[in-house]
Amino acid sequence: MNFPLLLIVIFVFSQAAYWLGYKKAFFSAGEKGPVHLHSRPQYYGTLTVLWCVIPPLFILVAWSVFSETVLTGLALKTMSEYTGNLSPDEISLLKSDLRNIVSGRFIPPAADAALLEAADHYRHMRDIGRQGLSALALASMILGTIIVLVRIRPGMRARNHVEKMISITLITCSTIAIFTTVGIVLSVLFESILFFQQVPVTEFLFGLKWSPQMAIRADQVAASGSFGAVPVFAGTVMISTIAMLVAAPLGLMSAIYLSDYADRKFRAAVKPLLEILAGVPTVVYGFFAALTVAPVIRQFGESLGLSVSSESALAAGLVMGIMIIPFVMSISDDVINAVPQALRDGSYALGATKSETIKKVIIPAALPGIVGGMLLAVSRAIGETMIVVMAAGLSANLTANPLQAVTTVTVQIVTLLVGDQEFDSPKTLAAFALGLLLFVVTLILNIIALYIVRKYREQYE
């Protein structure tokens, strides 16, 4: 039986199981009627469904996770006299050839009789496995149903059983966040350790030359790439700084105007408009930066007699700043609104004008929150990818001139990992080292920022 059919059978049977459990509960209550059941009859039905569905689904998931590894191992065993003296690399090549033959995608030209035979064996075993799987799944389904049906009595605490299962599901779902974080840390850490075995940490953190292109031949000039990441960090810092120089004043001033000067109508009209800026996909900003802003900046620079690179840091930073404006604005807006009205009133009572109140009372009171918000904005700027991939350069220049092309951490991750890759070269591993660094830096920024913002909120609550 194939997979979808099996699922349909399980589904149909589960409906029947619900009905059976429901009826059995009524039946067991006898003449006294369903009032004497511990739980409402629906719960007996649901419990039957759960025990009918979970075991076969568990078996199916286990099969689809492990079957390929097991089957490949079995198939390779048939050609053991051939694989005995191969290196691990060659065996993994053989495995992928085998999979290609089995799936019928294509037959590698180098395939010999032994391999084809192994593929036949694989298919044979897989067919047996699938038959056995169907039988096992259906048997477990029927068995589970029968066990529950037999046990249904008026005193059975069906609701508590069902609720226990639901609550286990809820807890499992809520731990996914932890598993995600652990997954991120492990995946970048593992590859980074491999990288740092080949390239010393100090060279990575303090080296001044970044050219990760590995040589094709061993005797090529500059055969080993160099992995000094300082120019990459410098580029990231420069572009983020430009972005913040745009976003911080514009966002903050917009927030001040909206919260303290604008009337209700203006605010209701303008705020959603500015929030559109936050909803535009970053790839659109990237396109805008590369095709509209960069040429304008270059023409303008050239009319002043400056040489401007067509992938200048200025264009990418400027557009990234525009992207961050609504982010800075909404955080500042929240923070400014959280300042108690009493502080404002006190200041007005002393005769201060609105702007004096804002500058001398509100901003100092809201400063921690604003700083926290700015830190969150910085972490967003550092981690932003598409704008810089499309509008900033690829070559790492160590320069302080915003009119030249620089590269960033995210650009390097993308260029190192997109396309064909071998998973043991320092080139691809370097991307994970950069990813680790990016994760750690943004994490620290976020933790500090969230801490500051929370402390600040508590202060006025």
Partner: protein, 429 residues
């Protein structure tokens, strides 16, 4: 107390000092207010610039130049048992030749044939294979023109530029003007753009493949992230005890919401592709990565929505003997679901526009055929935009902008749905 300037105390009163400074202070006040307004206006200006630049570059891609050719389907050109093998290119070439019989030179002939898109033979092939009765007759067919002709018709190629710098040579301009004079050149609605996959030829490239890819990816994301997100929100709000473990979960969710999206791509590459061996470029993997990315958004929105249900509802349910689980699922959930859906739609909109993590898991491949399932290689709309933006042809700029317009339209619809849900079902307690 010290004496302060004893001479002429009556002439300088405090009120005078204040009045003297008052104008200055009012001016500062006005300046500050104008500064705030300027900040808002310049942000709005950027927004306007962004949209006008994209719309002005992209609107023209919704029409496409077609050439009317009289094609003679002569009987000896076809072998009925092998229709696919006929020389369709030759038919088009002959038809062009009959329009411009004076062209004799080999090189000029090639330039003449270059006016018609290289996809035209396939169009003719499809026509013949769907209706074999046209063999032996002569039909007038609109075929797509090459992208250079298209660009010229849309005024994006400068006729006055020196010939060497132009993609179209002077003879070709002459032929185009001739065709135009005969009404054989027309701009029609660009169906190809909406009904075909990616192509190296701008005039044949479409967004159907990317849209399908986006759809499959979003379906996977929605099916996984909505139940899981709502379940964790319910647990954290309604059942979780206050302890270290739950605090850890909450800190994790807040931090994941601020992790750069590209890091999720690294996770997908290392875990889903290399560890679990799932296929590269597949919408399934894209959906998994985007699920992890949007989960924090959905969880946070759902929690806010659950919090806004007043405790009296819960107490009433508990009071008539409902269990905790029944209270939550029968009474709290129905009231909180609109808010949860709003949060989910916003999360989905963000997932639809996301491209960086998908680059990592190989959804950047050049894929011509629209995907047929969640395990087939696919690309998504934002990545298609990224790929086209990299192409050197002038015509791709226009198509990139058009794809952006389509993407923004999708996003607007989704956000409008969220706003509608919020205004329709929001309850103030």
């Amino acid at each position: 107390m010290q004496d302060v300037e004893p001479s002429a105390p009556s002439s300088v009163r405090t009120i005078d000092i204040i009045n003297r400074r008052l104008n200055k202070r009012y001016r500062a006040e006005k300046r500050f207010k104008r500064l705030g307004l300027a900040a808002i206006l310049s942000s709005l200006l950027f927004l306007g610039l962004l949209f006008t630049s994209i719309v002005s570059q992209g609107y023209s891609a919704f029409v496409q130049t077609y050439i009317l050719l009289d094609i003679h389907f002569s009987r000896d050109a076809f072998d009925v048992s092998n229709l696919a093998g006929a020389d369709y290119n030759g038919l088009i070439r002959k038809s062009l030749q009959s329009l411009f019989p004076e062209v004799r030179d080999r090189q000029e002939k090639r330039m003449l044939n270059g006016l018609v898109s290289s996809g035209a033979p396939f169009q003719i092939q499809k026509m013949v294979m769907s209706d074999t009765s046209m063999i032996g007759s002569t039909r007038s067919v609109w075929v797509p023109a090459d992208d250079d002709v298209d660009m010229l018709m849309k005024g994006r190629i400068d006729r006055s530029a020196p010939e060497a710098e132009r993609r179209l040579k002077d003879v070709q301009l002459g032929w185009i003007d001739g065709l135009r004079g005969d009404l054989r050149l027309k701009k029609k609605f660009n169906r190809i753009f909406f009904t075909s996959g990616d192509s190296r030829e701008p005039e044949l490239a479409g967004i159907l493949g990317a849209t399908m890819g986006s759809m499959y990816t979003l379906i996977v994301t929605l099916l996984l992230s909505f139940p899981v997100g709502v379940a964790s929100a319910i647990y954290l709000e309604e059942f979780a005890p206050r302890n270290k473990w739950v605090d850890l979960i909450e800190v994790n969710i807040n931090n994941l919401a601020a992790v750069p999206s590209i890091v999720f791509g690294l996770l997908g590459l290392a875990v889903f592709l290399n560890f679990f061996g799932l296929p590269r470029s597949a919408p399934l993997v894209g959906g998994l990565v985007l699920t992890l990315m949007t989960l924090p958004t959905i969880i946070i929105a759902s929690r806010v929505s659950i919090q806004s249900v007043p405790p009296s509802i819960r107490e009433a349910a508990l009071g008539v003997g409902a269990s905790k689980m029944q209270t939550v699922f029968h009474h709290v959930m129905p009231l909180a679901i609109p808010g949860m859906l709003t949060g989910t739609i916003i999360g989905m909109a963000r997932a639809l526009g996301e491209s960086a993590p998908l680059l990592m898991i190989g959804m950047v491949a050049f894929i011509v055929d629209p995907p047929g399932g969640i395990l087939e290689p696919a690309t998504v709309l934002p990545v298609q935009i990224y790929l086209w933006a990299d192409s050197p042809e002038r015509a791709f700029v226009e198509r990139t902008s058009a794809a952006i317009i389509v993407l923004l339209a999708f996003l607007m619809v989704m956000n409008a749905a969220a706003v509608f849900l919020r205004s329709r079902f929001e309850r103030r307690w």
